[in-house]
Symmetry: C2
DNA sequence: CTGTTAGCGCCTTCAA
DNA sequence: TTGAAGGCGCTAACAG
């Protein structure tokens, strides 16, 4: 009578089918060819009757695998993250895993909190869109033998499978486009660089390229995402200082591009006619904003999908060497750089 | 030697601390006052030493609670969903739950798949942003005694806790605004209504209000989100048929508003000067598109947070009566309705 | 082909 | 204040 209250267990099914637990287990695990048709029938019937579904927890406990994957995502309100998530999610479905989603709001403390949480479930692998971890979280991640893969961003001095954008290719594509369009005063605008390799790689490539064109004025600035005032000042100054030149702004990511657009609005400057604008990350509204905003479109969904594939091949033990998979960006040319 | 390979277990800690498993368990479960300082010290040391973390699966198995919440979300690429997710996620963190995220891509089949999956883990509660379930999934959901709450959308004939928008208030706010602004030809545009109560409630309220204003021409149409051609035709026809009138479109949700904006672009019609536009759901880019697009802003994050609170009170057994919590929308007036 | 048994890691009586 | 033993639901030998 024990399991009368809760959900049916394998024992209940066994009892109902008038057999032992083993046969039920066999039935559930694809060893149906070992069962006599009669028994199989009885089992099927009982399972349906009781609406029985095996408890994954118990299964996981026994087999040592939970089919759970942890995803630590830096900022879930970022469209980039969502598409990555979406790709991962699709891959999970294809491969039979389930996703535990953890959003860190770009806070290191939460990153560590969730890392612990995921360890404790325990998940079979972790996908991390890192904010940047400090020693503690880092060493935790390092110690554990859990398969893991980094998405988009690396962690300094921490060798790990990695899937993300080919920042060099992307930045080159964008910068060359601006040069070709005759812009001769360029501002590379980023959120605070921190240790975030993505931002640094983009900036470095930008600088390297620009160095070959002495006639072009290049500037670089960092600005927190939500400091509108500072952004206004930055843009206003750049604009004034380079009056007479053909100016353009390059934005290091989609969230920043949005803020830049807002700022330009406040300053009464129009992208296109007054100043060029090109941002990393595609925006769904890019074509609707004024004359349109040129962007670098990442194959974000694929990056996510690919990340999960990589994790799985680690779990299966297929993967051997360190993986650093980089995808190419596509330039979406719109009015903001061709006016 | 058995657990040498894998992660440390409670037995390993017990051995290391030279005590029994029970004491470790007590230590972990806040019954530390029952332990002698000396023993407590040894335990603490061993735990840190081994980097031990209790296995939630085993815990769950034993205690019959997993602290897992399932979220079934209709379309994760929809900004609305994301904010809901974000709110739920924050609440989870506050309440000590972890979220299993399932994205159904608006497909009923996947909805059922995931419903099964979640049951099998088993989660302690399910939050559903339903696409619309058929008999099978519905009965599954009904049979189970699992706490559950619906977000945004109801399921027909299925009494269930519910958190969402006060559609009547929101629609009234919007419609009245259009009337006040002197629009006298209104088109209510929706994705196919299906059985989705949200869309129907909005349309019904719209119709009821409009009925009181015989001088206003009102039309209503349904259009699949990704049929640009049909949308173009719809809008073009409406525009031509009501030439001379002050026209406005009301869009039933944010995803559709985006498509409408694209369509108007293709038709060379400008929202604001040529035709009014007002959409449910706030859009981050609403102010940047032309003269701006007026929207109805939902307290989306709160809706999510509130949904999780509701689930938790069900789990705790606190909640008794059926809950139908409705939040009010806020009208964000922009150029598209005030030009 | 089928059933019995012994755990997976943990919590919880119960007894010391 | 501490420990031993049993069992949560399931799987995997090992017997028959």
């Amino acid at each position: 009578m024990k399991s009368q209250a809760g959900r049916p267990t394998i024992s209940d099914v066994a009892k109902a089918a008038n057999t032992g637990k083993t046969s039920i287990s066999r039935y559930l695990n694809g060893e149906q060819h070992l069962l006599s048709p009669a028994l199989r029938e009885r089992i099927e019937h009982s399972i349906r009757q009781l609406d029985y579904r095996p408890n994954q927890m118990a299964r996981g406990l026994k087999r040592g695998r939970t089919r759970l994957i942890g995803l630590i995502i830096a900022d879930i309100t970022n469209p980039y993250s969502i598409e990555v998530l979406s790709g991962i999610e699709a891959a999970c479905r294809d491969k039979g895993f389930t996703l535990l989603v953890c959003n860190t709001h770009n806070e290191v403390a939460q990153e560590e909190h969730y890392l612990n949480l995921l360890h404790s479930y325990p998940v079979e692998g972790i996908i991390v869109n890192a904010v940047g971890m400090r020693e503690e979280g880092l060493s935790r991640l390092q110690q554990s033998t859990l398969p893991r893969v980094l998405v988009d961003r690396k962690i300094a001095d921490f060798p790990c499978d990695m899937v993300g954008l080919d920042n060099q290719q992307a930045t080159t594509l964008a910068t060359q486009h601006l040069i070709d369009q005759g812009f001769n005063a360029l501002l590379f605008l980023s959120e605070p660089l921190g240790k975030i390799n993505t931002r640094r790689e983009r900036l470095d490539t930008f600088n390297t390229l620009i160095a070959r064109h002495p006639q072009i004025v290049a500037a670089q600035a960092e600005c927190p995402l939500h400091d509108g005032q500072q952004l206004d000042n930055l843009l206003q100054n750049f604009y004034s200082e380079n009056a007479g030149k053909r100016q353009a702004i390059m934005s290091v990511n989609g969230a920043l591009t949005l803020q830049i657009a807002r700022s330009l609005r406040r300053l009464n400057l129009q992208w296109g006619p007054d100043i060029g604008l090109l941002g990393f990350d595609e925006l769904e509204w890019a074509e609707l904003a004024g004359v349109g905003i040129s962007t670098l479109k990442q194959p974000t969904w694929q990056i996510g999908y690919s990340a999960l594939e990589q994790i799985v091949s680690r779990i299966e033990g297929t993967a051997t060497t360190l993986c650093d998979r980089r995808f190419s960006a596509e330039l979406m040319v719109r009015g903001s750089t061709t006016y």
